[in-house]
């Protein structure tokens, strides 16, 4: 009996000491599930995965899980995100635009303040201005990390322009229409179009020149109307330019738009600089191919309220961090990621949201230096309508705009219908 008691006591002491050793040692653990709207082959995703691998190697004592779920179809992605939010199951990282829906998420306390994060990590000055400003909500708060520094151009095929006898790029909307007519007469598709948002960009350009962002901001809140002079002018331009899109454009998707341009079937494509690699516009030297040029948003007239150097610039869809997932390990990882992101991103021909060092900046291919210069010269950023407008109104806007572009509605009818949608929604 005595022997049994001693044995039990000895075993108990050993177990207790083992427990104390394991409990006393701090276990480092970081789990990030990232629901991303980017495809797995996109530069930001590949760059961050490389950095994660590196971080794992440099922190062998950290139990680091970094899983990315990619849903590249934006509509499907947003639907999944909204369902997860409704069931309170948002992952640690999730992508979103700074739209009204995300503003509600922030109000609900489910997205950490990135302003605070950048300050804490001392990264405030290292982020491009557009990469911060684009992601701000209407109330000025910043709750999204952005991974790109983009601008949007009219990319064009120089050989097709030459064949059509076009010697200069258009600088006004009237010149753009004339250019398209010449291209059409020469037998090519003047402009390629596809997907949901590109058509809204064409629409937004004339009102932006005539009334900056006031037009859309007032129209969607009911303070103004879609049928103002700027709106009607935009609608008329839309109907005129749509005749130069490829046949069947309204059922074409984004990839078809890129493919038509990349394969040399269409002369002009309006897209963001993220499409440089998607549409095969980058040559072996890392610069834009010699056969491709680009020009910025044209102007209306001398009475424009925005400058020719003002146009669409953005930073791509942002990434939010769930508030309760932000701990010291998360902050350490994000700091490491941001410090290495510029180099990793440029390795995949993607202009990052974090400024590279001066030497790298000076050695960037000419196209990226042009993008940085163009973005830096913008004083008034044109707001992306599909981002600033309430999601229920975007659906109606896209539908009505397609009807307008296909000639099923007059500009006045379009404006009246949109005003009614706003009224119903309010």
């Amino acid at each position: 009996m005595k022997k049994k008691l001693v044995t039990i006591l000895a075993l108990g002491t050993i177990c207790a000491s083992m427990l104390s050793v394991t409990c006393g040692a701090e276990e480092r653990k970081l789990t990030i599930n990232w629901l991303s709207s980017r495809s797995a082959s996109e530069a930001p995703i590949m760059a961050i995965q490389d950095i994660a691998e590196q971080y794992r190697e440099e922190n062998p004592d950290l139990d680091f899980t970094f899983e990315i779920e990619n849903i590249s179809d934006r509509t499907a992605y947003l639907q999944k995100l909204k369902i997860l939010a409704a069931s309170d199951e948002l992952p640690e990282w999730y992508d979103s635009d700074p739209d009204t829906w995300f503003a509600d998420i922030v109000k609900d306390g489910k997205a950490y303040s990135i302003d605070d994060l950048y300050s804490e990590l001392g990264m405030d000055d290292r982020i491009f201005t557009i990469s911060k400003e684009y992601a701000r909500l209407a109330d000025g708060s910043l709750n999204l990390m952005t991974l790109q520094c983009n601008t949007e151009y009219f990319f064009y095929n120089k050989e097709m322009f030459e064949a059509a006898g076009i010697t200069e790029v258009p600088t006004t909307f009237d010149e753009l229409l004339e250019t398209c007519q010449k291209l059409q007469d020469s037998g090519v598709i003047p402009i390629t179009m596809g997907g949901d948002w590109p058509i809204l960009r064409y629409f937004a350009q004339v009102p932006f020149r005539m009334d900056a962002n006031n037009y859309i901001e007032k129209a969607v809140t009911g303070e103004g109307s879609f049928g103002t002079e700027a709106g009607i002018a935009g609608a008329e331009f839309m109907q005129n330019i749509a005749q130069y899109f490829q046949t069947g454009w309204s059922s074409a998707d984004y990839d078809t738009m890129n493919d038509l341009f990349a394969s040399g079937q269409a002369a002009i494509m309006y897209n963001g600089t993220w499409a440089l690699s998607q549409a095969d516009m980058i040559g072996e030297d890392g610069n834009i191919k010699d056969s491709i040029g680009c020009f910025t948003m044209p102007v209306c007239s001398e009475s424009d309220v925005t400058k020719p150097t003002d146009f669409f610039a953005n930073s791509g869809i942002g990434t939010a961090v769930r508030t309760d997932a932000m701990d010291n390990e998360m902050k350490a990882w994000i700091k490491y990621m941001l410090e290495h992101y510029a180099e990793a991103s440029l390795a995949y021909d993607n202009l990052p949201s974090v400024m590279p060092d001066e030497e790298t900046m000076n050695n960037l291919p000419q196209i990226y230096q042009q993008i940085i210069a163009d973005v830096s010269n913008v004083e008034v950023y044109s707001k992306c309508w599909d981002v600033v407008i309430n999601s229920s109104l975007v659906e109606s806007l896209e539908k009505e705009t397609v009807m307008l572009a296909l000639g099923q509605e007059t500009p006045e009818e379009w404006a009246a219908n949109m005003d009614e949608h706003v009224k119903n929604q309010l």
Binding site: W101, K107, Q246, S251, S392, K399, V402, M403, Q408
Partner: protein
């Protein structure tokens, strides 16, 4: 002979009943409940009574979707029933190779809707050129972008949806035709009937009940049609191919209006019950 104790049938039914209640009735009740609320999925749920139901009557998009759905149902039902019966009739007339043809006819049913829609999207494309536009050019016709034309888009969507599912009804009609007693048919031939007379006056009346079963399935399915329209055209151009189910889905999950989306779901439920009720009344009249 009646069982002495009546508890056993219910015990056998219990698992299936539990699944039915959990998967069908409970979500249905939840949807009806949500239809009286205003909720965007994040904030507070606000009770608004019948406001969502009142909104349905002034909703232009719903009106367009409803009439599109009627067209989709009528044309889709006719197309699938006729094609299914035609394929079953052809199959029942051949001995060798009927298995291979049955498999070939059934393949569209098992291919995913996404694959079918992408195939037809490329086939019907004008720029870049698809097969149909090339054939039209060879026939000296101007290629038409069917999916982008208001007057053709809905018909295209209906026929593509019908193409996907007609194999299913082929199988049902084939099984029914195979079960028609051979003696009855042979007796008809002996009495001097031609093939057409035997088909229309002996075989088809023998499978009369199957028609109504297929009709119920078709009408119900077409009223809830979603995938082909959503994938192929997204309801566009404009509202040309918008169906009630696609509109409901977009309202709930794209526009984050779960309350009104639930109301549209209740509308689809009531619409389907009424439609099936009408089919049952017609069936009863035919039986009488």
């Amino acid at each position: 002979m009646r069982p002495r104790r009546k508890i056993e049938p219910w015990l056998f039914l219990l698992p299936a009943l539990a699944v039915y209640i959990g998967v069908v009735l409970f979500p249905m009740a939840g949807t009806i409940g949500y239809s009286f609320l205003e909720w965007n999925g994040i904030g507070e749920k606000k009770f608004i009574g019948f406001d969502n139901y009142v909104r349905m009557f002034t909703d232009k998009t719903l009106r367009a979707a409803f009439f599109n759905n009627l067209f989709f149902m009528l044309v889709g039902t006719a197309f699938q029933m006729i094609m299914g019966l035609l394929m079953a009739t052809l199959l029942s007339g051949i001995r060798k190779g009927s298995n291979i043809f049955r498999v070939l006819y059934f393949i569209p049913c098992i291919i995913s809707s996404m694959a079918i829609c992408k195939i037809f999207e490329k086939l019907l494309s004008v720029q870049p050129r698809g097969v149909i536009s090339v054939v039209m050019e060879l026939l000296n016709m101007k290629p038409i972008a069917f999916l982008s034309e208001f007057k053709y888009a809905l018909t295209c969507v209906t026929l593509i949806d019908g193409y996907k599912f007609c194999g299913l009804y082929m199988v049902i009609f084939y099984a029914a035709l195979m079960n028609v007693p051979q003696e009855t048919v042979e007796a008809a031939y002996i009495d001097g009937c031609s093939w057409m007379q035997a088909y229309f006056k002996v075989k088809l009346p023998a499978i009369k009940n199957m028609f109504f079963i297929v009709l119920v399935i078709l009408v119900n399915g077409c009223l809830k049609g979603f995938d082909v329209s959503y994938i192929l055209t997204g309801g566009g151009p404009g509202n040309a191919t918008e169906l009630v189910a696609t509109y409901m889905y977009k309202t709930a999950f794209s526009m984050s209006n779960f309350g009104y989306g639930s109301t549209l779901a209740v509308f689809i439920l009531i619409e389907s019950l009424i439609a099936v009720g009408i089919v049952k009344m017609i069936q009863k009249k035919f039986s009488d």
